[in-house]
């Protein structure tokens, strides 16, 4: 499933700015971006790609249990990520590494998650309100909606002060749109008119199942049935991803109710490092999407605006250093203390947990060095 007439696009696959009636209202949003901001888009996309390549390498070398690449989806993530304001909250699924980078998480925490050291990794309130990853598909969309309901209850949206009014964005995949939770989230969001953007990354696949199995209709059209305005954008075009997200987030923030964006993109890598995509998709398809690579497209555009080799070389060096740093710090990661699994099961003391924690400590001590227990 590729782009249709309905798919909004500001940058053609060849990297040229497209002007059309459909995008007329989006172009001014992009025109407000400074050169520095545009450079930053490229920089984060390049860092994210380097992170994914390194993550995959580390997994192959046994340093990480499983790797979940965002490779190919950088533009959708970077565009929407930069469209947020600092006070906004993000409820991701498990693939939004670029958004995490934008919101200031330390990516080693993503490595810690996939290396099997933690189930979470970071504290959202200290990391740009980027909530932790959710593995059970679609659950986070309800959490996002509830959070957004709270914003409304607190009177923190629609006051006419965009610098302080809050909004929420939630990410989910094409497969996840079939989950009851996602549909219930859309119902609640519409019912309570939440200040919220549903950001669907349609990367064409849910592991081995094509999006055509999930939906007969383009997914953005489903939102209309819930009474939620929606658009479909070219998710490999960072400019339209940014502009549409910005517009919709600002509308939601201003009290206009929830919005929905379907970003058409492609999971260029395997679903995870455990997956073998050759079992279910063709080389022709991957080649088709390789030609639509979001990063090279934007690089062409920046060059056409006069950006020179120096900048791209600088970013390449920075990305290589970034990857090298991740590798070094991954190899330095220790193992959590065994007692850690008993921590934070509850917020308040719990006798069974205390008892088992003590039992294990004694057992380990006796087992580690029998003499020590005398």
């Amino acid at each position: 499933m590729s782009y249709t007439e309905a798919t909004l696009q500001l940058l053609s696959p060849a990297g040229a700015l497209v002007e059309s009636d459909a995008t007329a209202e989006y172009l001014p949003i992009v025109e407000k971006l400074s050169d520095d901001e545009l450079r930053e888009f490229h920089r984060v996309m390049a860092l994210t790609r380097a992170f994914d390549v390194e993550g995959t390498n580390l997994q192959r070398q046994g340093q990480i249990g499983i790797w979940v690449p965002s490779l190919g989806q950088e533009a959708a993530q970077v565009g929407s990520g930069f469209a947020m304001r600092p006070q906004d909250h993000i409820f991701p699924s498990y693939r939004e590494h670029a958004v995490g980078i934008i919101r200031g998480i330390d990516v080693i925490d993503i490595v810690r998650l996939f290396r099997g050291l933690t189930h979470g990794g970071w504290t959202p309130s200290e990391h740009g309100n980027f909530h932790i990853y959710t593995m059970v598909l679609g659950s986070q969309t309800l959490h996002a909606t509830g959070y957004a309901m709270g914003i409304t209850l607190d009177g923190k949206a629609g006051t006419g002060h965009p610098e302080t009014d809050e909004a929420v964005i939630t990410y989910f995949g094409d497969g996840s749109t079939s989950q009851g939770d996602v549909n219930e989230a859309l119902v609640f969001a519409a019912s309570y008119q939440t200040p919220e953007l549903f950001f669907l990354q349609n990367n064409q696949w849910a592991i081995s199942v094509p999006v055509s199995k999930q939906s007969r209709t383009p997914l953005y059209l489903r939102a209309g049935g819930f009474g939620i305005p929606s658009v479909q954008v070219d998710g490999n075009d960072v400019l339209i991803s940014y502009a549409a997200s910005r517009k919709y987030l600002e509308e939601a923030r201003a009290g206009g109710g929830p919005r929905f964006i379907e970003a058409l993109t492609y999971r260029m890598g395997a679903h995870t490092s455990s997956d073998d995509p050759t079992k279910y998709r063709t080389d022709a398809e991957t080649a088709h999407w390789a030609a639509l690579d979001p990063i090279s497209r934007f690089e062409t555009y920046l060059r056409s605006r006069g950006e020179g080799d120096d900048f791209f070389a600088e970013v390449r060096t920075e990305a290589a250093d970034f990857a090298e740093d991740i590798r070094r710090r991954t190899l330095e990661l220790g193992v959590p203390p065994v007692g850690a699994m008993f921590d934070n099961v509850y917020s308040e003391p719990h006798p069974l947990i205390e008892e088992e924690k003590q039992w294990l400590a004694q057992y380990e001590a006796a087992y580690a060095s029998p003499e020590a227990s005398e």
Partner: protein
């Protein structure tokens, strides 16, 4: 096909599913990624190619949808076999399983039956991220109307999946995912035990060890180690968690006087707790020591790097054996 073949459990299940589909055209498979991919554990590999998309359905990504529509298909005369991709992803279907599937026969006053099998790869030892290593059996064993079984060997997997499919009741079929790959002998000609029976996996005299699924291999290892130290241990493979076949358990306990139950699941309100209580009620005068449980801790299944601490291993089982013998 010769009668005896050495196969990994994943392949034995595949063969069992294939046989059930050949025997009964009403048997259909439903699940996420079970078609061209053959399931994330390859249990259904090749079945869609051979039986077609109507009988091996890659469903939309919704567990409640899978089980809920399986119920309707069963009402229509089909025998659906649902695959849940991982233990931790069964819960979106929990309502359909516990409030509907389990109760519909009763609600219809016996007027219909619900021959639905729900296959769930479960348990730890594979180093995966959250929701991929859990042991949710107690929820299902606690639910009247569901049958719950778990094979520990490729042979049992081959036969038990067929028995589960031919059962007119809903069966939660728990597949110990860490046992998918080790090979074992499958006898394709001789069935052996019935679905809901406890098996003696090793004969011994001083202590009885009881477990199911992947735990059985750990118990056999513990029994080997105990034998080296001169202790004779009997190992029972529970196989059926609902109903529980108490005959062989009580018989063994009357012989050894000691019972240690091991399970990966958290210990509180677990299948092991139920068995401990029943054995105390029915074999009190035969017991030389209290029935002991060795379980996963009552915490969420921890991050992968801590799983070897969380999961009961042979040492933890032997520690309990020592305690039982010390009474």
């Amino acid at each position: 096909m010769s009668a005896l073949e050495s196969l990994p459990m994943a392949k034995a299940l595949n063969a069992g599913l294939r046989k059930a589909m050949q025997d009964d055209p009403k048997v259909i498979l439903m699940g996420e990624d079970i078609g061209p991919l053959g399931g994330v554990f390859r249990v259904t590999e090749g079945l869609q190619a051979d039986f077609g998309e109507n009988r091996v359905m890659d469903t939309p990504l919704a567990e409640s949808g899978i089980v809920g529509t399986a119920i309707g298909l069963a009402m229509r005369g089909y025998r659906p076999v649902c695959e849940i991709q991982f233990d931790g992803f069964v819960f979106p279907a929990f309502d359909q399983i516990t409030s509907q599937l389990a109760k519909l026969t009763n609600r219809h006053e016996g007027g219909i039956s619900m021959p639905v099998v729900i296959r769930i790869p479960y348990g730890g030892h594979i180093g995966a991220v959250e929701h991929h290593q859990e042991s949710p059996e107690a929820y299902f064993a606690h639910t009247p109307g569901l049958r719950v079984v778990s094979p520990s060997t490729p042979h049992d997997a081959y036969w038990m999946i067929q028995d589960a499919i031919s059962s007119d009741d809903p069966v939660i079929f728990l597949e110990p995912k860490s046992r998918y790959w080790p090979k074992g002998e499958v006898d394709f000609a001789v069935r052996g035990r019935t679905l809901h029976s406890t098996a003696v996996a090793r004969v011994g005299t001083e202590v009885t060890l009881l477990g199911h699924g992947a735990m059985v291999a750990v118990l056999l290892q513990a029994a080997d180690l105990a034998a080296e130290e001169g202790t004779s241990v009997e190992v029972l493979d529970l196989r059926s968690l609902s109903p529980i076949d108490y005959g062989p358990i009580l018989e063994s306990v009357r012989k050894t006087g000691r019972l240690v139950i091991a399970q990966e699941a958290p210990g509180a309100v677990s299948v092991g707790s139920e068995i401990a209580a029943t054995v105390a009620e029915r074999a009190f005068y035969s017991l030389e020591s209290p029935v002991l449980r060795v379980s996963g801790f009552d915490t969420p299944f921890p991050p992968a790097k801590l799983e070897t601490i969380y999961l009961p291993d042979a040492d933890r089982v032997l520690e309990a054996v020592d305690r039982a013998l010390a009474y």
